[in-house]
């Protein structure tokens, strides 16, 4: 592999790891906020315990989203200096606004939410989680404005060999950003909904003590999954109408259109290979669509079955199917990102800057060291975190440390009085 491939692989692995955590963060934060709203208004004990349990999973997951995100932010200047030099004046502003409009507030308030659990007024505590949710959405939006600019550069002027912002509004309403935002956000709801349903189904299948707790959680997860599938498909469908010609041609494996794209690009930009890697593009797209189809049917079946209390408590085959479904939305999302990003190749900024030109002048040794170091650390951390998430999910609400000492569901027997 040459230096560009090493740097691309590092970016792909860190971005993929980052997004798998971010997607669950976006969706789960929303569900936790909804439950906490219910708990706060109704002073409902079971909902309060649900906030702590699902909130615990959310917080474990959020931490990994941060550490992978830190590397994403600084990797741009580190390995892709050609990109920041050429387009930093344009899309860099979206990244700057992401940090101050979104992430700064999100993290500060999440810290208050976690550590201020019993110190704050319960309405203030509820307001915190909603601010965290909304700023998480804002964060996704700004990052997709940057990504959308690379997919479909708009609102720029070219001067002195570099790009500058010419029309802020055009950049912020770039369909490659707004449609992707709708798609990513609804897909995150879908993903978190299936995680919640799958974990709940595990406890129902195992007949653990928390029957009401997980019946409510299962119904919430499945109930959200159905509208989320419709939204995801709607935005995804609009997105298919916006594909770059090369991406569409590679996905459809249409030799005539591939040749046409190659000829048009060569006429515009000189000789070169302008066809995205077809295998990756079609495999990514097909994985996304096939897994989505499966999730769609599972969602419809789930919404019907959850209407019957006997099925909710007793239909174990269905429970274990839902447990096995947990990885599927993650796979669909990865497929979708591979489709989107591989399909943009060979461009870093579509039609303006190639990926090879976007690289920093790194030596192969530097690129290899950086790839190996980050991959090794993240591989270990990702495994530990998924293990911890699974363990926390399996142990159930009785052993949660978020929000103070775990409160037992059944009153404990009073300690025998000490006698001297």
């Amino acid at each position: 592999m040459d230096t560009v491939d090493l740097a691309r692989l590092q970016f792909a692995l860190t971005a993929g790891a980052h997004f798998s955590f971010v997607a669950l963060t976006l969706g789960l934060a929303t569900l936790v906020a909804v439950i906490q709203t219910r708990a706060t208004i109704g002073r409902s004990a079971v909902h309060l315990r649900m906030v702590r349990f699902w909130g615990q999973l959310y917080v474990i997951n959020y931490a990994m989203g941060i550490v992978t995100g830190l590397v994403m932010e600084f990797q741009l200047g580190l390995a892709w200096r050609g990109l920041t030099d050429f387009a930093g004046n344009a899309f860099g502003s979206a990244l700057a606004l992401e940090t101050v409009v979104a992430f700064f507030v999100e993290s500060t308030f999440l810290g208050l939410w976690i550590f201020g659990w019993d110190r704050l007024n319960r309405w203030a505590h509820l307001a915190l989680i909603w601010v965290v949710v909304l700023t998480a959405y804002a964060s996704a939006y700004w990052v997709l404005v940057a990504n959308g600019f690379m997919q479909n550069p708009v609102g720029y002027r070219r001067e002195g060999g570099v790009l500058h912002v010419a029309d802020v509004a055009a950049m912020l309403t770039n369909p490659a950003a707004t449609v992707a935002f709708g798609h990513v956000l609804s897909a995150s709801f879908l993903l978190a909904a299936f995680v919640m349903a799958g974990v709940s189904a595990y406890h129902l299948a195992r007949r653990t003590a928390e029957r009401e707790f997980f019946r409510k959680s299962l119904r919430l997860g499945l109930g959200v999954s159905l509208p989320a599938t419709f939204l995801t498909a709607t935005f995804g469908g609009i997105g298919f109408g916006l594909l770059q010609p090369g991406k569409a041609a590679a996905f459809n494996a249409d030799p005539a259109r591939i040749a046409q794209v190659q000829a048009e690009m060569t006429a515009l930009h000189g000789p070169g290979d302008y066809v995205p890697p077809q295998g990756w593009v079609s495999a990514g797209g097909i994985t996304m669509l096939a897994v989505f189809g499966l999730l769609f049917y599972l969602s419809i079946a789930g919404v019907l079955l959850m209407l019957f209390r006997r099925a909710v408590y007793g239909f174990r085959l269905w429970h274990w199917t839902l447990v096995g479904t947990i990885p599927l939305p993650f796979i669909a999302m990865m497929g979708g990102w591979i489709f989107r990003e591989m399909g943009r190749q060979p461009w870093a900024v579509y039609g303006l800057l190639t990926t090879a030109e976007a690289m920093s002048p790194m030596t192969e040794g530097q690129a290899r060291f950086s790839l190996i170091a980050f991959t090794a650390v993240f591989a270990v951390l990702v495994v530990i975190n998924y293990w911890l998430l699974a363990r926390t999910a399996r142990r159930g609400p009785g052993e949660v440390s978020l929000g103070g000492a775990p409160r037992p569901t059944v009153p404990e027997r009073p300690d025998p009085a000490l006698t001297f």
Binding site: E73, T99, G111, L112, G116, L120, Q366, L381
Partner: protein, 248 residues
């Protein structure tokens, strides 16, 4: 104006996160048992999440306002930047994971990772400082060591303000155990020293602003009061001394 915005976030990071990095560095000195270490970590627990965002924001300002400097600073020092990021990632992972399991070996391991990550961060900042002021080779270790010592001193001063009893006594080694005012004065001194290092380093950077500042800077300036208010809410909520272990 762009320079002031960048300086605000960078110096905010040095002073605020410098304290929690420093506490991580002196963790083995302050906390001699797993229980003590957890209480020491409780001193920084509610703050570290809100502290590191200052660096994320400073990075965002580089990306939006100083794109050329971003490339120069990061791509120009690849080894140090990779070491800095890895230390940051490992330290954060250690803080988040440490108390999720009750097993002693697990907690000792992650305590070690927190200490190593904190030292790694401090020394990486020191090396980056050497790089920026143009010192190479073995003499570059001097600014790195000085800055690391400053972070550690700042952490001790912060811990003295946050902890109680034996732990506070250990942390107050720099202020001569003179109690309330001495502790505050030491912290103010180390904070000012870090801010001065930040400003002096800034004067050696090629701070040539990009073209987005004309519209981006006013937007960011308008947001600053909100950001500071959010942070102030955290400081106010956790203004008292630590009374026991926290979530971390």
């Amino acid at each position: 104006m762009e320079i002031l915005v960048l300086a605000f976030f960078a110096i905010g990071y040095l002073v605020l996160a410098g304290a929690d990095i420093g506490v991580g560095m002196v963790l083995p000195y302050l906390g001699r048992t797993p229980g003590e270490r957890r209480e020491v970590l409780a001193a920084i627990a509610p703050f570290f999440l809100g502290n590191e965002v200052w660096l994320v924001a400073a990075g965002g300002m580089l990306a939006g306002l100083f794109p050329r400097l971003e490339g120069e600073l990061l791509a120009g020092n690849p080894g140090v930047v990779v070491a800095l990021l890895l230390s940051w990632v490992l330290r954060d992972a250690g803080l988040w994971l440490r108390s999720r399991l009750a097993a002693r070996a697990w907690q000792t391991w992650w305590d070690g990772v927190i200490v190593a990550g904190s030292w790694g961060l401090a020394l990486s900042w020191g090396s980056l400082l050497s790089g920026v002021i143009g010192i190479a080779g073995p003499p570059a270790l001097v600014p790195a060591a000085v800055l690391a010592a400053l972070f550690a001193a700042h952490g001790l001063a912060f811990a003295a303000l946050r902890l109680r009893g034996t732990l506070r006594h250990r942390a107050a080694v720099l202020s001569g155990h003179s109690g309330g005012t001495g502790e505050g004065r030491t912290f103010a001194l180390t904070a000012i020293a870090l801010a001065v290092v930040g400003v002096l380093t800034g004067t050696r950077l090629p701070l040539e602003a990009g073209s987005s500042g004309s519209w981006l800077t006013p937007v960011i300036l308008a947001l600053l009061p909100v950001l500071v208010a959010a942070q102030a809410w955290v400081w106010w909520t956790f203004r008292h001394r630590v009374t026991g272990p926290s979530y971390l």
